[in-house]
Amino acid sequence: MYLKSLVTAVAVVPVISLASAQAGSPGFSGWARPADVGCFQESWGGILNQCSGAKDYYIPFHVPTSGNKSVTLYAMGPNSSANVCCTAYGMIPTSDSTYRSPSRCLDAFGSFRLIDLGSVYVPSYGSLYIACSVGPGARIKVASF
């Protein structure tokens, strides 16, 4: 009986995990300042900064419901001098005030890594987006909440 329960649990857990896994916005769905647009190139659904300096890049989210949103993204920097640092913003619809999440950067380089920006509250009719400083040769693959 115990074994049966264990087997059932082992069989069911991956299904649940797959069903609840987050999917996100592709990196190339974002926005750069007009002067920096030429720096960002689409790359496998993400973006690559092909300029020699760090550039800012923004990814807005379509948020169907208000509430706390846990914001993450996958990014890659070629080395420690080409990091990717991001923060998330929850915008209040009725004024120019904002909440900014902690700023987080890649902690390792050479492969895609998760950056966890924590929880951001999006009020009713509010909005959510992330801003990233993308180092030269660095990439953002996907951003989720």
């Binding site: 509430g67 904002t98 909440y99 900014r100 902690p102 700023s103 950067c105 509250y121 009020p123 009713s124």
Partner: protein, 207 residues
């Protein structure tokens, strides 16, 4: 005979005055009791308001508080029977106003305990950070840190300059102005065209 009437009239006046005096004394006593009760109630309320926060003013606290009005306003979710499959109109609770958010964050900040050592270090770090962003056209009007969070008011020569400052201050970076969450109030314009901006630097969640 007229003398007796005078005495009776005087007596009636005295009795009436004494009765009025006693009635007023009773009323004054009642009012004093009510004032004392109200004073005590206000004192209790003030003590309750002055109670220190059980949790520091962190980005998590901010999110939890922000979520609270919406949760309270949200209609109760009830499982509808299968036969009644008609979709119910979804009621979106209103967001707290900017004034409500600002007041609650300020209250949370003022109720936070103080830690002079942490506060001194955080203030120095923020002042250095703001100076590193450049001080042209801006100055720090006031800066107060408590135990986990800080409140800074900056003054700017124009709204555009204030916007430039915020863009720099909020920007993600390997060396950000502040590691934790931040909350920025709407800029306020002064009569001479300058603007003031109040920024709260919230304690890191790990604290």
């Amino acid at each position: 005979m007229p003398t007796y009437g005078l005495w009776i009239g005087l007596g009636a006046c005295c009795v009436s005055s004494l009765l009025g005096y006693w009635a007023q004394r009773q009323e004054i006593g009642t009012l004093r009791g009510e004032v004392a009760a109200l004073t005590e109630a206000v004192a209790i309320q003030r003590r309750a308001q002055a109670k220190p926060l059980t949790k520091p003013l962190t980005d998590q606290w901010f999110a939890q508080w922000f979520a609270r009005p919406a949760a309270q306003a949200a209609p109760a979710v009830q499982a509808a029977p299968a036969a009644q499959a008609a979709p119910a109109a979804q009621v979106v609770p209103p967001s707290p106003s900017a004034e409500e958010v600002a007041a609650e964050v300020q209250n949370g900040f003022l109720r936070e305990a103080t830690d002079p050592t942490w506060a001194s270090s955080a203030q120095r770090s923020l002042l250095d950070g703001v100076a590193a962003l450049g001080l042209d056209g801006r100055s720090v009007w006031s800066l107060e840190c408590r135990k986990h969070s800080c409140r800074m008011e900056t003054i700017h020569t124009s709204a555009d300059e204030g916007h430039r400052f915020l863009t720099q201050a909020l920007r993600p970076s390997e060396r950000p102005l502040w590691e934790g969450g931040m909350y920025v109030e709407p800029a306020e314009e002064l009569s001479d065209g300058r603007v003031t901006i109040i920024t709260y630097f919230l304690g890191a969640a790990k604290d």
